[in-house]
Amino acid sequence: MKKTICIILAASGLSLIALQARTWTSADGSKTFEGNLKSYDKAAGVVKVLKGIREVSFKVEMLSEADREWLQSQTPEAKANKDAADMEQAVLEELENQVIGSKIKKGVLSVLEDDGFVDHTMTYAPEYYVVYYSASW
């Protein structure tokens, strides 16, 4: 059943964000309407919204500040940034449950970058650690 719905969505050209119903508000706050976001062309500043089966298209400037902020959060870049932040948080939580990882996850390790050491935050939660005790002398 899920597969059928996905095929229908793909065939209709709708992305999953098109399923997000929202109450939209005009820039001056005087009007609202219900609709599902179909697409947002950030470069052109054009929003397409489905009101029932009808598609309406308008400039993003016609929307309230809150709507514009929400649209910004729906861009691929914003979603990618959020996914990355969520991933980092999940790794840190996993490391927090380790005896070793909880100590070194952040603010303890350094890596060589260009001409100096910079702080290193663990990007994954390994099961094992090889610790190499050594010195230049």
């Binding site: 100590k103 350094s110 390994p126 094992y128 610790v131 010195a135 230049s136």
Partner: protein, 87 residues
């Protein structure tokens, strides 16, 4: 470095951590730059905070394989890299 590249660099189950016993950060940096070390380091000012100091021996170099719960699985270069094959 060869063992690191072959067994750890692309191994998500294992992280390699260099516990630098150089007291001077300049010396640690010079050595890391000279050898172009790709792994993370625990520098002298973070020894205690890292929790890894308690495993250190009185001599270097020394390798140790520890699991995420702090249990020692292998000690010494040969034993450590052999053990990684079994993980």
């Amino acid at each position: 470095m060869e063992s690191f590249n072959n067994k750890i660099a692309d191994n998500d189950k294992v992280e390699f951590v260099h516990f630098s016993l150089d007291r001077s950060p300049e010396a640690a940096l010079a050595w890391a730059k000279k050898e172009n070390f790709p792994w993370p380091h625990v520098l002298a000012d973070k020894h205690v905070e890292s929790g890894l100091q308690k495993y250190a021996k009185r001599f270097v170099p020394y390798y140790m394989l520890i699991d995420k719960d702090g249990k020692i699985l292998a000690e010494g270069s040969q034993a450590v890299f052999d053990k990684i094959d079994d993980l």
